[in-house]
């Protein structure tokens, strides 16, 4: 079947079997190899991408479910020359080591960036607990999230770029 979606700002169309995972389509058909797979059963968060402004696990999403959506991966958030505020913060705070979990964390944090200031440390760690990092011990990832939230400005908000939350339509968040 055909699936049409917008990935990192570009309109794309792919021909896929219905059983194909969004993660595989992004990685292998759409050249977003920054989408990483650590478990393929929804626990590690490495495959997290931002779909219509919401962080989702692309390994738990079938490609057809992405029909008509806007998807952002870490490649779409910034480049080595122009990293996004979250990507920059990871570097400044030494929030990564092997870097395998990093794209997932970058997406997860980007999607929650507007709320980080309201969270205390416990809540922030709770919010990050859906992503596993085997290398860093998390302390610097927590710092990176804080720094990114402090340094962001309008242009860094992907929720706005991504076209806003779908709320009731998809029922995946509280609007």
């Amino acid at each position: 079947m055909k699936v049409r979606l917008t990935v990192n700002g570009e309109d794309r169309e792919v021909e896929v079997e219905p059983r194909r995972l969004l993660s595989d389509v992004l990685r292998h058909e759409l050249d977003c190899q920054g989408v990483h797979l650590g478990c393929e059963h929804g626990v590690c968060g490495a495959c997290t991408v931002i779909m219509d402004g919401v962080a989702v696990r692309s390994c738990l999403t079938l490609a057809p479910q992405a029909e008509g959506t806007t998807v952002l991966t870490t490649e779409g958030l910034g480049t080595p020359e122009h990293p996004s505020v979250v990507q920059r913060a990871f570097k400044t705070e030494h929030g990564l080591q092997c870097g395998f979990c990093t794209p997932g964390f970058v997406c997860a944090i980007t999607a929650m960036l507007d709320d980080v200031d309201e969270m205390d440390d416990g809540e922030l760690r709770e919010a990050l607990a859906g992503n596993i990092c085997r290398c860093t011990g998390y302390a610097n990832i927590v710092k990176a999230a804080r720094r990114a939230a402090a340094e962001r400005d309008e242009s860094d908000s992907v929720i706005r770029q991504g076209g806003g939350c779908c709320g009731e339509q998809r029922g995946c968040c509280n609007g």
């Binding site: 030494h94 709770e126 859906g130």
Partner: protein, 818 residues
């Protein structure tokens, strides 16, 4: 060799690798798929121990067209065999190759061939039985489903003590028992020690089976080369050159026809520091089929069949005097090494490490050890951050706490009375410690924890109780060739080589056979190079993990990259610097001593406007050689090798944990974690702290959460992240880190290795803290709620008793002999 830190050494420069990794530009193994690739999927054993009576492709559902099925009989004899040779009983301080070269297979050793695909017998759940290939990565999974396997069950050996029973089924036909190797070592005079210490303290400890679990699974991709005879093999590995040597031997092709490349590696931790049968198989199939063949592991496969770790049972007996001074220790170490011996460490590596390091920071000269590596029908046990040391430290530190408790002394004070304070120090087993700050780190951590006050707090009666505990340890790192010579494993060397070159535009490159898999080696080595050469680190590129362009290397493991790799870079860069100065002196018509290099510019010291950039010098050396000083060869490259100190260099640390225990449930939360560590000169403190924090997080996972369980019939019970619990952001606190600095007199810049230390201390520190909170000693990891709760209620599991192990006749002899 030690000298004061200089230039950029010790600077917190940001990591060079981060720009690509944060933006998704890093290319890991699974990101590579050449045109025409055949994807490989393994059919794996569902039985722990069985005879294979038939493997039938397409028995109940048809195989998809184009599918290829390879079974054990197609690749008979292909596999991994890692044997142990004779090991000298006492390691003399400078014992070298020609002193006592162990070449014979150890008579106590029993060999296992780990087949690339099982033939006739399977020995653990997850063992590969058939390889199915197909161009479509989805269809190949369907094809693998269509292969039926017929088994005839054999009795599995799952339980450690059961494996040693007189009537135990035997894992490998033809073996005399289920023991890979059993070794006995005595140092000093135990009888005299027993007389000096009139108290005998005994403990039994158990560190259960865990796994290293890098977030990127393993995988490999082989592509036939243009000659049709050779292969290029990409593999997610920490040791590409060893993969090349071993795989080329297994394939029977010349080593220069195999090029091995480790791309970006998403964490290794020792798990990827092996040569695996799948690397042999994928290379062989690419050659036979003349097509690229790729296999990437999924998480279940990784947890089932890569490499497990820990899985130790120890018993210790100490002779102690009234003051808490430990005069002698006897210990029996039993390790469940799983079904096969791993390459290149062998099945004896974990058990063998314990006698080497258990006494660690303590001045105890009379010791006796027996270590036994047993075979069971479980996944093979391999190396993981710390290798044997976390379990060894757990045991000796639990012993120190037990000594304190039984003699009514303070646990920190008991440690103080036993720690080594003078250096260099020759340990009973021949290891020579260079320098250290054992007492200082202990004092610092106990001060930070407000030890006396915290220990004296009345715990009675409340639901939530606090506990504090410490652990002290040292870690042998960057050990040189002599240390490997006497191990008897297929790793024989301990050096690192580095090739560096300057390009015509003045930028430079380091070619290393080491692998950068998260430890920040690209940055630290560029930092060393930049420091020595006088350029900016951002102008230095590091090319890693490609046997096609780097000097031979045994790979990245054992906390040796920064020490030996950094040492080799320093030496090679110095050679380049000397040549740059020679050329500049000639062009500027001054003496070399009158020049200095800074930020890529060579200047006359007294007249800074007189200068040449390194780019200008490089242009001369490489492209306009006619302008070279007479007699000096063109080119700007250098190669240097550095071997480690004979017995390595010794980092040390003290870890302190403060925990809160919920007495209603047994749940433990870590409230504070303090580290005082000493790795000599730090190249980049930010990276050091990151490594420590990451190591401690793994140690906390080991201490509280991670356990790989099997059912009684050998079925794995922890094969997904739902069951194998990894620490997340809510489990690991931010560390409080304090640095001490005892530079090694034996390494470049006084650097000591520190990659593993973080993971060594937490088991013991957390156990001490939990024991304090519970009011009873815990001797088993992980300390999950049920275990803690049981101890709190006074239920000591049978396997933590002395008698449980003593009932096994094969274990009793060691104690009866004395």
């Amino acid at each position: 060799m030690a000298e004061a830190p200089k230039g950029l050494i010790g600077e917190r420069i940001p990591r060079l690798e981060d720009d690509r990794l944060t933006t998704g530009r890093g290319r890991y193994l699974d990101d590579l798929t050449p045109v025409g690739t055949l994807h490989l999927r393994f059919v794996r054993s569902q039985r722990a121990h069985a005879r294979l009576t038939a493997v039938v492709p397409g028995e109940y559902e048809p195989l998809p067209p184009e599918a290829i099925v390879i079974t054990g009989k197609d690749v008979l004899g292909l596999g991994i065999q890692a044997d142990a040779r004779v090991v000298p009983k006492v390691i003399e301080p400078h014992q070298r190759y020609d002193d006592n070269r162990p070449t014979e297979l150890d008579p106590a050793w029993q060999s296992s061939l780990q087949p690339a695909l099982a033939h006739e017998v399977v020995r653990y759940v997850g063992e590969p039985i058939a390889a199915v290939l197909h161009p479509d990565p989805y269809v190949v999974e369907d094809a693998a489903e269509a292969v039926s396997v017929h088994y005839e069950d054999l009795e599995p050996v799952i339980d450690m003590r059961g494996a040693l029973a007189a009537d135990a089924p035997i894992v490998h036909e033809g073996w005399r028992d289920n023991v890979f190797i059993r070794r006995h070592r005595t140092y000093g005079d135990l009888k005299a020690a027993r007389e000096r210490g009139k108290h005998t303290v005994r403990i039994t400890t158990r560190t259960n089976r865990q796994a290293g679990v890098p977030l990127e699974n393993r995988g490999c991709l082989a592509m036939p080369d243009a000659t049709g005879r050779g292969v290029v093999l990409w593999t997610s590995s920490q040791m590409p050159h060893l993969v090349r040597t071993y795989v080329s031997r297994a394939l029977g092709i010349p080593e220069n026809l195999l090029r091995v490349i480790a791309p970006e590696v998403g964490g290794g931790f020792g798990v990827k520091g092996h040569v695996f049968p799948d690397e042999v198989l994928v290379s062989e199939l690419a050659r036979r089929l003349q097509r690229p063949v790729k296999w990437t592991e999924d998480r279940v496969e990784h947890l089932l069949s890569s490499i497990h770790a820990r899985d130790h049972a120890h018993r210790l007996e100490a002779f102690v005097d009234d003051d808490g001074r430990v005069h002698g220790i006897r210990a029996q170490i039993v390790v469940d090494a799983g079904a096969y011996s791993v390459f290149p460490w062998t099945a004896g590596s974990d058990s063998g490490m314990v006698p080497k390091v258990m006494i660690g920071p303590y001045d105890i000269q009379d010791v006796e050890f027996e270590d036994i590596a047993i075979a069971t029908n479980k996944s093979p046990l391999g190396t993981y951050r710390g290798v044997g040391r976390p379990s060894a430290t757990f045991s000796i530190e639990r012993l120190m706490d037990t000594v304190a408790e039984q003699l009514g002394l303070d646990a920190v004070e008991v440690r103080r009375r036993n720690l080594i304070t003078e250096f260099p120090y020759r340990a009973a087993n021949g290891l020579l410690y260079d320098s250290g700050s054992y007492l200082d780190t202990l004092n610092k951590v106990s001060e930070e924890l407000d030890w006396e006050v915290a220990r004296a707090t009345d715990q009675g009666g409340q639901r939530y109780r606090r506990g504090v505990g410490v652990s002290v340890f040292n870690e042998q790192t960057a050990h040189g060739t002599p240390d490997f010579e006497v191990r008897g494993t297929p790793i024989e060397t301990g050096y690192q080589g580095m090739r560096v070159e300057i390009n015509p535009d003045g930028t430079s490159v380091i070619f290393m056979g080491l692998q950068s898999h998260g430890q920040g080696l690209e940055t630290t080595l560029a930092q060393v190079m930049a420091s020595e050469l006088g350029v900016l680190p951002s102008t230095v590129k590091v090319v890693h993990g490609d046997t096609g362009n780097s000097p031979y290397s045994v790979g990245t493991w054992g906390s040796r990259g920064a020490v030996l790799g950094g040492g080799a870079v320093a030496r090679a860069a110095r050679e380049l610097r000397a040549k740059v100065l020679k050329i500049a002196a000639f062009r500027l018509d001054v003496a070399e001593d009158d020049l200095e290099i800074e930020r890529g510019v060579v200047r006359v010291k007294k007249n800074p406007s007189q200068l040449r950039t390194i780019a200008q010098i490089a242009e001369i050396a490489i492209r306009r050689a006619a302008k070279m000083p007479p007699g000096l060869a063109p080119g700007l490259d250098a190669l240097a090798y550095v071997d480690g100190p004979d017995r390595g260099t010794f980092s040390n640390a003290c870890h302190g944990a403060q925990v809160v225990l919920d007495t209603w449930t047994g749940r433990v939360r870590i409230e504070r974690y303090v580290v005082a560590e000493d790795c000599g000169t730090m190249l980049n403190p930010t990276i050091v702290e990151g490594q420590v924090q990451g190591g401690v997080a793994q140690g906390i996972g080991n201490a509280l959460l991670e356990e790989f369980n099997y059912s009684d019939d050998g079925q794995p019970m922890s094969a997904t992240f739902m069951d194998y619990l990894m620490p997340t952001a809510t489990d690991v606190p931010a560390l409080e880190i304090h640095h001490f600095d005892s530079p090694s007199p034996w390494t470049e810049n006084g650097v000591k290795g520190m990659g593993e230390a973080g993971a060594i201390g937490p088991l013991a520190a957390v156990a001490a803290a939990v024991s304090h909170a519970v009011g009873a000693q815990l001797y088993e990891t992980p300390m999950q709620m049920e275990r803690v709760f049981a101890i709190q209620e006074g239920d000591v599991p049978e396997h933590l008793t002395w008698e449980y192990w003593h009932e096994c006749p094969r274990l009793r002899g060691f104690w009866d002999d004395f």
